[in-house]
């Protein structure tokens, strides 16, 4: 497993070797190294059928890692002939503690035919630690990355670190192997720092702070035990890139991987010495520990070991093993001295510190009443923009002004600068000439160390039209200013009582349609049935008496009695099949007797005829009419039953 960059290097290297049959190339990471710093040497052998590297020792250098072997094959067809080349690269890591010019001894490789080839010696200059320019080289996150299993301590939603992930990876070349477990002190290998860009500021002056973790060891994730406390500051988190950015930094001659875990803008809100409390973190570090039986230049003891070594799995055979050691560390606190602002602040000072410019604009100068006027206040510059409030603007009473809409646009790099725009909407309600408010804005200038007051010119406005807002009632916008009103809240909530639609359509709409349909159906032929003193009156009789019934209801006395008399005669003549003119009381009685009608009933019938004829000339009221009607129904019905 090798660094991506190295791979790239090999690739370039190999491509140049491709057509040379056999060859060896040696690459070194630097010609000058600081004492104690790692030096990488790569021997790239092309098309040698070698068995492995025979290490002859590296005096005065010390082998701290490797050799790691990487193989690459390249096969190509050119004009029908196949050429294939194989390149094996052996990388070793060396370090030297003495100063001066030294040579990395010649190394030799054993070939399969028993012979050996030798690599050239390499000249290296070892200089004092710290004398080389420090390089902070930014790199892509790579598999060697000690932060691969890093957890953002400020992210409460981050899950547990994937345990053992770091373990699977082949560890990077350590800078130095520890000789004894007891000597282990990780304070110089893993630590955190809080960086601030200024230590002495005024109230409100922004301070950029960042928290970084430095490590030279692999570890299994980081967890925050205690996060820093920014008491006395108004804070604004700055976004970090989605992937944690890994940087290589050299501090005191030792190479570290650093990662920035938090970037924050601090605006001090009070004077005095403010302290950022330390960040406390814990981790499980993978610490390289030397084994007891350690030899710097060992020959492979067995064939198996030789294969292992040539496969680059020689770390353990070299006597270095990794121990998991839980370790807690803290960043140390940072102090910031905050100076108070001078006392002679002008009235228009709203807390601005930095350097600003400001202006105000209107979108028109002439407008009608009830027309909206847009008024914009723009503030731009660098400083504590987020903390600045809108300058006071007082308008004429007849002009209604709504709360402004705030637009902010900040840049953080290199300094905090940007613009802040307040958009007001003003609606005049009365005609006349007015002016926009005279605006003043004061801030504390950090360069001049004094207050500066800026003014914006006021614009004159001409308003035409009818006044729209009386004192009692403002018709269009209501009696109040919506912008200043709060919403009406109610915490009332009750469950919805709902009828399912199926019930609605089944029990509501369907019956309605059915009722409607029934109305259109032809009328059911009804057989009227009537009961008088418990007896059922036949339909035929009722039909005969229909007209009489109508007169009875209308209380028409004369037509009723006439109709009744007529009905009797008609009925009887129909029954006996005689002409009405041939009928008389006497032959009625006879005929009835012939038909077998009882004497009692005949008497009743004759009596009925008498009553109806008499009725015409009596003053009996409706009571008598009803009685007669009921009786006639009754008697006629009886007769009807007896004469079949």
């Amino acid at each position: 497993m090798l660094d991506k960059n190295l791979f790239l290097g090999y690739f370039l290297l190999l491509s140049s070797l491709l057509f040379s049959q056999k060859g060896m190339e040696i690459q070194i990471s630097a010609k000058k190294v600081e004492a104690g710093e790692p030096l990488m040497v790569v021997y790239a052998l092309s098309n040698y059928n070698e068995r492995g590297m025979m290490r002859k020792g590296f005096e005065p250098f010390e082998l701290i890692g490797g050799p790691q072997v990487s193989r690459s094959m390249n096969t190509s067809y050119i004009n029908g002939t196949m050429t294939s080349s194989q390149t094996n690269s052996y990388s070793i890591y060396l370090s030297c503690k003495k100063l001066g010019k030294f040579q990395v001894p010649k190394q030799s490789f054993q070939l399969s035919d028993g012979t050996a080839i030798e690599a050239q010696a390499i000249e290296i200059e070892v200089v004092k630690p710290g004398s080389l320019p420090r390089q902070a080289q930014q790199r892509q996150p790579d598999p060697f990355d000690p932060f691969a299993a890093f957890n953002d301590p400020f992210d409460p939603f981050a899950g547990q670190s994937p345990a053992g992930r770091a373990q699977q990876q082949n560890p990077a070349a350590p800078n130095s192997a520890f000789k004894d477990e007891k000597e282990i002190n990780l304070s110089k290998d893993i630590f955190a720092r809080i960086h601030v860009d200024k230590n002495k500021v005024y109230i409100g002056e922004p301070v950029k702070a960042s928290i970084k973790i430095y490590t030279s060891l692999n570890s299994k994730g980081f967890d925050a035990e205690k996060v820093p406390n920014f008491n006395g500051f108004w804070t604004q988190d700055l976004p970090l890139s989605d992937k944690l950015e890994m940087k290589r930094e050299v501090i005191n001659g030792k190479e570290f991987v650093s990662v920035e875990i938090k970037k924050i803008l601090l605006y001090p809100t009070k004077a005095g010495t403010l302290e950022i409390t330390p960040l406390k973190m814990k981790t499980i570090a993978l610490v390289p520990v030397m084994r007891q039986k350690q030899t710097t230049n060992r020959q492979p003891g067995s064939l198996m070991e030789a294969i292992m070594m040539s496969m680059g799995m020689s770390m353990n055979t070299m006597g270095v093993e990794f121990k998991e050691i839980p370790y807690s560390f803290s960043s140390g606190s940072e102090k910031i001295t905050v100076l108070p602002l001078p006392a002679d602040a002008p009235a228009s000072f709203t807390g601005g510190v930095g350097k600003f410019s400001f202006n105000a604009y209107t979108d028109k100068k002439e407008l009608k009443t009830d027309e909206a006027l847009k008024y914009r206040i723009e503030l731009s510059g660098s400083g504590n923009l987020p903390l600045i409030e809108a300058p006071k603007n007082i308008w004429d009473e007849t002009i209604e002004v709504y709360d402004p809409i705030l637009k902010e646009n900040y840049n953080v790099q290199p300094t905090i600068s940007g613009t802040k725009i307040w958009n007001f909407v003003a609606v005049p309600h009365a005609p006349g000439s007015y002016t926009t408010p005279h605006l003043e804005f004061s801030y504390f200038d950090l360069a001049q160390k004094k207050y500066v007051t800026l003014t914006a010119p006021s614009t004159s406005l001409t308003i035409t039209g009818k006044p729209t807002k009386d004192k009692e009632k403002g018709k269009k916008y209501g009696e109040f200013n919506y912008a200043k009103q709060k919403i009406k809240e109610s915490s009332h909530y009750s469950m919805d009582s709902d009828l399912p639609n199926s019930a609605f359509y089944g029990l509501g709409v369907l019956p309605l349609l059915m009722a409607l349909g029934l109305g259109f159906l032809p009328k059911y032929e009804r057989k009227e049935e009537r009961f008088i003193s418990g007896k059922k009156i036949s339909e035929r009789v009722i039909q005969q008496m229909k007209q009489a019934e109508i007169y009875l209801k209308e209380n028409k006395k004369e037509p009723f009695y006439q109709e009744l008399t007529r009905t009797y005669w008609n009925y009887l003549s129909h029954k006996f099949k005689l002409e009405t003119s041939n009928l008389s009381r006497i032959n009625i009685a006879e005929k009835l007797r012939e038909k077998g009608v009882s004497f009692e009933l005949i008497t009743k019938m004759i009596n009925l005829i008498d009553r109806s004829e008499m009725g015409l000339y009596t003053s009996y009221g409706s009571q008598a009419m009803q009685e007669l009607y009921d009786d006639s129904l009754n008697i006629l019905n009886d007769i009807d039953k007896q004469i079949v």
Partner: protein, 240 residues
């Protein structure tokens, strides 16, 4: 008849308890507005949710969370459920004023009178009345069919007309409730004359209510309150 009424009562009582609503109201009272928003969204997915109130209270939570476009959208949704909510109309005006918009919403307030009338009775009461009246009418019609008129039989026709009016109101309510094709601008965006987002453009304000006319891929055509047509990105609006 008695059976039907008891059935109706049983149907109306079958509601379950408002499990999320209580929590949401508590969260709102404790000023934990994001939690309240989440809970109200959950409540709105439950079966027996009172949408009219839930949308309004969700709107309040959005308002408190300073998310004004969502607040307006939810108030409008609440108005769709029941138009006769003066508090909600007031809240819409307040939020629109805060967004710097005209407080007279021209699109939603069309058919103002019809909407007011159709929402005079709540959906539940309308349904119940229609069911009772039509059952009554059917029963009477059946009786009349076989037995003939009763003394107050002439009232039937009035009752019939009244029931039909109620039915119309119900369907009108449904129509207003189902009214689709409105959206609210959620991000300050630019509307273009042409479909490929080119041509004459106009800045659209957050919270502005628009009618959705057409939808092609990720762009939609909208009609603004000033009756102008523009094309904008679909992701810049919230449908109501």
């Amino acid at each position: 008849m008695r059976y039907i009424i008891s059935l109706l009562i049983i149907l109306s009582i079958q509601s379950t308890s408002a499990q999320y609503a209580d929590k949401a109201i508590d969260a709102y009272k404790k000023a934990d507005y994001p939690a309240a928003i989440v809970l109200w969204e959950k409540e709105l997915k439950t079966k027996n949710c009172n949408k009219e109130q839930a949308y309004c209270l969700l709107g309040n939570a959005y308002f408190k969370n300073k998310n004004f476009a969502h607040a307006v959208a939810n108030y409008e949704k609440s108005l769709r459920e029941n138009y006769n909510q003066e508090d909600v109309k007031f809240n819409i005006k307040v939020v629109r004023a805060k967004l710097g918009l005209d407080t007279e919403n021209k699109i939603l307030f069309t058919n103002d009178y019809l909407r007011k009338v159709s929402f005079l009775l709540s959906e539940f009461i309308l349904k119940l009345l229609i069911i009772i009246l039509s059952c009554l009418l059917l029963a009477y019609n059946i009786y009349q069919f076989f037995k003939g008129d009763l003394k107050f039989g002439f009232l039937k026709n009035y009752l019939f007309a009244f029931t039909l009016v109620l039915l119309c109101l119900y369907f009108l309510q449904e129509k207003f409730r189902q009214e689709k094709g409105f959206a609210i601008i959620s991000i300050e965006s630019t509307g273009y004359e042409n479909m490929n987002l080119k041509g004459e453009s106009k800045a659209l304000r957050v919270g502005e209510m628009v009618k959705v006319l057409d939808e092609i891929g990720v762009t939609i055509q909208i009609e603004t309150e000033a009756n102008k047509h523009y094309w904008i990105q679909k992701s810049n609006v919230i449908y109501i």
